[in-house]
């Protein structure tokens, strides 16, 4: 595990390029910084993307087509393409009247989905004739802000977690740009906007959703400190596990049965889903800090007593790598089926690379 601190500002979101030599982060303001480097060494800022006027809420970097999509609280989204070493923005007409909250490229990168506070999801695709990005809206039956999105590997289904305590799977099939999808365990009739799963009892705002590598199960974390999994192969039955930790904010599948989630407890946890009713906590993915209790000289003793009114060598930091809530987890190495490394960013301005042993 390695930690790199990008400063003192919280990192709202991050995204990696294809070979993981560049990272795009936003330090809780309206600018996206792109850093070049490699893990374990220094990261050098090479670009600053400054088109947004509101706080950036989502960044996603498409690995194959090398395009970045950003969305912000100014109700806009931009698609950035690299031309002659400079990132050029293209405005996307998302037609929302509230802030955008999250954005994700689809697996084939021909469209992306944008969640917003306007209680709708905007699925955007590129129209070649007019050379601009168009959007189609999914409105019903969303009743509140869309907090998180994830695409199914088949490029058609979209999972959305929202603040109306529901977790849903929609069809985002756009007939103008792609062929009809085949049937999936979630359903076979898939016109645009069709609801294939609607789970009502998530218990709290659904902060993050994630499809498994095969797309047959969907995991989500909600604000009532619970994690839930819906299984398409078992008739879309839902298994929920309530935890004794603070609410989790981000969830990621590291292989078909293992799930990693992190949130306000500042450290990632591993869960395992082996079938209906078998969702359980495995372990904390963190090495506790080695407390170095060296020999304290008498001078140290008195100095501590004078400064801190105690002779104990107290460390006020948390016993884990991140010192504040983790806001986002991202796959780093290994591919969806077997994630070897994943990264996390948090409110402490640090980015940590975690290794996962299967």
């Amino acid at each position: 595990m390695s930690l790199y601190s990008f400063g003192l500002e919280p990192l709202s979101c991050h995204a990696w390029n294809k070979d993981r030599t560049q990272i795009a982060v936003s330090p809780n303001n309206n600018v996206v910084h792109i850093y070049q480097g490699s893990q374990g060494k220094e990261w050098i800022k090479i670009h600053e993307l400054t088109e947004h006027s509101g706080r950036i809420t989502g960044i996603d970097w498409a690995p194959e087509s090398n395009r970045i999509v950003t969305c912000a609280s100014d109700r806009n989204a931009y698609v950035w393409t690299l031309k002659d070493g400079v990132w050029k923005p293209t405005l996307v007409l998302v037609r929302i009247n509230r802030a955008a909250t999250c954005v994700k490229w689809s697996p084939l990168e021909n469209k992306f989905a944008l969640g917003s506070g306007a209680k709708l999801i905007s699925v955007c695709y590129f129209e070649k004739e007019n050379d601009w990005w168009l959007s189609k809206h999914i409105k019903k039956p969303i009743n509140s802000t869309v907090l998180s999105l994830d695409w199914h590997p088949n490029n058609m289904l979209l999972a959305a977690g929202s603040a109306d305590l529901h977790c849903r799977i929609f069809s985002a099939y756009i007939k103008d740009i792609e062929d009809r999808p085949g049937p999936t365990p979630w359903g076979s009739k898939m016109p645009f906007g069709e609801v294939l799963l609607e789970h009502k009892e998530c218990g709290g705002w659904v902060h993050s959703v994630s499809f498994s590598p095969s797309g047959d199960t969907l995991a989500w974390v909600s604000h009532n400190s619970a994690i839930g999994v819906a299984d398409a192969t078992q008739g879309k039955e839902v298994t929920q596990l309530t935890t004794g930790h603070l609410p989790l904010l981000s969830v990621l599948y590291v292989c078909e049965t293992e799930i990693v989630a992190a949130g306000h407890d500042c450290c990632p946890y591993q869960f395992s889903y082996k079938g209906l009713g078998c969702l359980e906590f495995v372990k904390k993915v963190d090495i506790p800090k080695q407390t170095s209790k060296g020999n304290m000289s008498a001078m140290q003793h008195f100095r501590n007593l004078d400064k801190k009114a105690t002779i104990e060598d107290e460390d006020t930091g948390l016993g884990c790598l991140h010192q504040n809530s983790i806001t986002q987890l991202c796959l780093l190495e290994g591919g969806k089926e077997k994630v070897e490394k994943f990264s996390s960013v948090g409110l402490d301005g640090a980015m940590v690379v975690w290794e996962f042993k299967h």
């Binding site: 209680k119 009743n143 509140s144 109306d164 305590l165 009502k200 218990g203 709290g204 604000h223 009532n224 400190s225 619970a226 309530t242 935890t243 004794g244 930790h245 603070l246 609410p247």
Partner: protein, 150 residues
């Protein structure tokens, strides 16, 4: 000149009623959620079987009910059971509950905190400490986020 001669009745209108986009919770009214059986709980307390009294009190929580009287009644039954426990027995009682039971107990504890009586707060704090040791911060978060309160 100082008195407003126009009607100010418009100030008492609840405009949220007329908002079409207002968020409405899914209500499912369950008629059989009458709250725990007060008589049975009382019997068990008198007999001294505290564990059974606790389990009886935590049965049938009026979670889906919108009737405040039922909720009040349930709260009084549970509070009576909780206060008649001896401090040394609290820990084993909490350990005998399952996960959902601990969450439900936390809900009742916080409900009890809302209206403190003479000695209820002290005993509730002891219950809180033991329930927290088992349920963790998650059980407290679930009390805050639950839309259907006990």
């Amino acid at each position: 000149m100082a008195k407003n001669t126009l009607s100010s009745r418009f100030r008492k209108v609840d405009i949220d009623e007329f908002d079409e986009n207002q968020f409405v919770d899914d209500h499912d009214e369950a008629a059989d959620q009458q709250g725990p059986d007060a008589a049975e709980a009382d019997n068990l307390i008198r007999q001294g079987d505290m564990m059974a009294a606790l389990h009886v009190a935590l049965r049938n929580p009026p979670i889906n009910s919108k009737n405040p009287a039922i909720k009040e009644r349930a709260q009084t039954v549970v509070l009576r059971v909780l206060t008649s426990f001896r401090s040394s027995d609290i820990e084993s009682a909490v350990k005998s509950l399952d996960k959902n039971g601990v969450d439900l107990l936390m809900k009742y504890i916080y409900r009890g905190f809302e209206k403190p009586t003479d000695n209820s707060s002290a005993i509730l704090l002891q219950w809180h400490e033991k329930a927290f040791a088992v349920g963790g911060l998650g059980s407290i978060v679930r009390v805050m986020t639950a839309r259907k309160t006990v």
